[in-house]
Symmetry: C2
Subunit: 457 residues, 2 copies
């Protein structure tokens, strides 16, 4: 019997632990022996970063609720999990990694699942590299715990400035409003800039209707501080007193230790694994440290989302253990919510933007259609706006975006399914979606929106 | 210039009026002249029959709210609409129809959109053919108005017996419970028999948890009456005092006047139009008087749903006026809700049943998977059960059924899209559905359910 294959996984979150568990399952099925070691520099495994804004909002009782599986649960499954263990170097020829403590760990197969920490710009940092008090990102469970403390100790009427109006920015704005704080959202571009302008405008209006101050085109230039604590934010063209400043401007792959090893990285530091998760001989990767392949135009894009980490991690674990599962890319689907007071917006998108469609050689035709999530006479009916885009020549569906009330957001899934199957806008318009008065109009609004575009091709 | 083509449409509801308006639009675009006459034996046009149970429940203020377009609105669009005009005979050779009043109306193109009135069994009828007082169906706006009156004049604590536990039966049970009545539901089979047994059981449990009495396998044999008014219901093996009896056992195509004309009808009296809506030379049909073609197995099935009526009516109207739109069948998607007190079930299905799959030569593998509509730590999370079926040899997705809390039902649309595209269970498992904590688990439950089936093929 050959000795057990040594698999070393760096990173104990969605991608890494999906890979670990799937590798063990597949190996067991195939009668193979695997030794799976997971090294993670942090203190928490397998937590839902996406849930942190809802913990901040008060929806979630405890950070523990966000942990899908504890370290002990992973260990009980036969994984040698070592927390607080940062990998600082890798030697692909020798097949070893080196930890910050100087330990050298040998591997037969290496899995890079190091994720992507939050970007914290220089203006948020003291000369010693730590953030000013009252300033921070929203990425780790420790971040969440810190914000819970900050929220608890803040004065009534305290003012929270959120820098960034993407998914996290909008979710944190909701959390801060629900906690009773004043809220300013600063964005270099627009609210939810991954939406087309006309859909983004609906989010902007929602933020303002909910009582948030929203400043578009604001490039933050610095903070005002007092005794190491933030007291205000300055930006091109304005400034605001602030008790708390949430930095939500994105994340960056944690792949520094791979520089110079021969593993190819993008300018942004991302990996580009194949559908099995391979990036080089005996080196694999999945999750937030990777770009993902968009099926519609074949583009590699950086979309650090848990759902891709889980799927690619699973395919990787299976492949590494002799299986054949693949992660065959995505169609750029995402969703969030902004809900406060009378404002309740579900926000979702799938497919390409108009610019991306044009760049890929399409002749896109797009329209916004307004309607209702349920039959107009039903109490469930809420407004919904849909942006649908298709290619004039091929009639292929290229993208759909949704902003609307309860029941609006997950409608994106039907559109994502059409994109996955490379269907046309006519498929979307004529296929068989569910209708009953509490759920839809007799012509489902997604299909009305598709039909209107189809008629203009 | 040729004289205007005379289009005569029988039936002024979803299919007929969709056809009428689309025909006029297409004709206008093509520079054609059409004279569109619509004959309807009833008193209301274009109403939502599906909305009547919600009107009965008190969700909808007035029957007028269920009318999508009034007769005057149709006339303003240039349609010669004649209500209270029943067609009793057709002569395809002479191209004429005859009304109950004896008028002969000539046509160039005839559209049969007569719909399907409710089946009312003999036991519900007096010797003169009218229903006993307190007994009736739920199909027309007049039915709805009658039930509103009956509900208003019923004593507190009155008991409603609903015969039939399909979509209408379950919806009316909800309405009666919400009105404060005692409710008994009688069904020859099971609750929502269009579901597999294990999913139907969840509906049965929901009805009972909500306080309804549910009797399975009950064949009604007769009514008890007093002075022409119902006082009780008898069935094989039982009986119940009843103040009101709602008959919800289905509908039947209104095509008697076509017998002997040469137009082909099924044993059940249904028409089988082609994708353009053609049934014979110069004769067209769409809507509830027709069967529809199920794409998955090619079977013709009787599914009198408004969404098919609208779609086929539109394709018909376009085709009749020189266009090329087609209604390319369906995948057997439907949805409803049963909600009362603590019970809130969204119920949806798409695709084949196990029996249908076997009859079509598949080797079906099916599993029920339980999970959550949102991340478990979110207040939005509600239980959901999904039944997923695929073919062992081809891995093709064959059917999906869902019973669960808010947000469960419309998940069926993503599955319906996969069926529409003839995709596999792997497509469903791996495609890119939207995830954020208020909307889904990180592995969307629909995809977990698909994956579990995929692993067993």
């Amino acid at each position: 019997m050959s000795p057990a294959k040594r698999v070393v996984i760096i990173g104990a979150d969605a991608a890494g632990m999906s890979a670990a568990h799937q590798a063990l399952r597949t190996a067991k099925r195939g009668g193979r022996e695997l030794e799976v070691t997971v090294l993670d520099r942090g203190t928490h495994t397998s937590y839902s970063a996406c849930g942190i804004p809802y913990w901040m909002a008060g929806d979630v009782d405890s950070g523990d609720d966000l942990v899908a599986r504890t370290a002990d649960q992973h260990r009980a499954a036969g994984i040698d999990l070592r927390m607080g263990t940062e990998v600082v170097a890798a030697d692909l020829a020798a097949r070893t990694v080196t930890t910050a403590a100087g330990e050298i760990v040998g591997y037969d197969e290496l899995v890079v699942a190091t994720g992507a920490p939050a970007v914290v710009p220089d203006w948020a940092l003291r000369p010693d590299g730590t953030t000013y008090d009252g300033v921070g990102a929203v990425k780790t469970l420790d971040d969440g715990a810190t914000w819970l403390e900050q929220f608890a100790s803040a004065d009534e009427g305290a003012h929270v400035v959120v820098v960034g109006a993407g998914y996290v920015g909008v979710e944190v704005a909701e959390a801060a409003l629900r906690r009773g704080f004043g809220v300013t959202v600063l964005t270099r571009t627009r609210g939810m800039a991954m939406l087309e302008d006309e859909m983004s405008d609906l989010v902007n209006a929602g933020l303002r209707d909910a009582g948030a101050e929203l400043v578009l085109g604001a490039e933050v230039t610095g903070l005002d501080t007092e005794d190491g604590r933030v007291t205000g934010v300055q930006w091109d063209g304005g400034n605001r007193e602030a008790d708390l400043v949430v930095v939500a401007i994105g994340v960056r792959p944690a792949t520094e230790f791979l520089r110079g090893t021969g593993v190819e990285l993008t300018d942004g530091g991302a990996l580009r694994p194949d559908p099995h998760g391979r990036v080089a001989d005996h080196v694999w990767s999945a999750g937030d440290c990777c770009e993902v392949r968009r099926r519609i135009d074949g583009a590699w894009v950086f979309r650090p989302l848990g759902t891709y980490a889980n799927k690619h991690g699973r395919a990787l674990g299976d492949s590494l253990a002799g299986g054949s599962l693949t992660f065959d890319g995505m169609v750029d689907t995402s969703i969030t919510r902004f809900s406060y007071g009378e404002v309740n917006l579900e926000i979702a998108r799938t497919g390409l933007s108009r610019k991306e469609a044009e760049a890929a050689g399409n002749d896109p035709v797009a329209l916004v259609t307004e309607g209702s999530t349920a039959s107009g006479y039903m109490p469930e009916a809420e407004p919904i706006a849909l942006w649908v885009m298709a290619d004039r020549a091929t009639r292929r569906l290229l993208g759909v975006q949704v902003v609307g009330g309860r029941g609006a957001g997950k409608r994106i899934d039907a559109a994502a399914a059409v994109l996955w199957a490379e269907g046309t806008v006519d498929d979307l318009a004529w296929m068989d979606l569910a209708y009953a008065p509490p759920f839809a109009t007799a012509w489902e609004i997604l299909q009305v929106a598709a039909r209107r575009v189809a008629e203009r091709l």
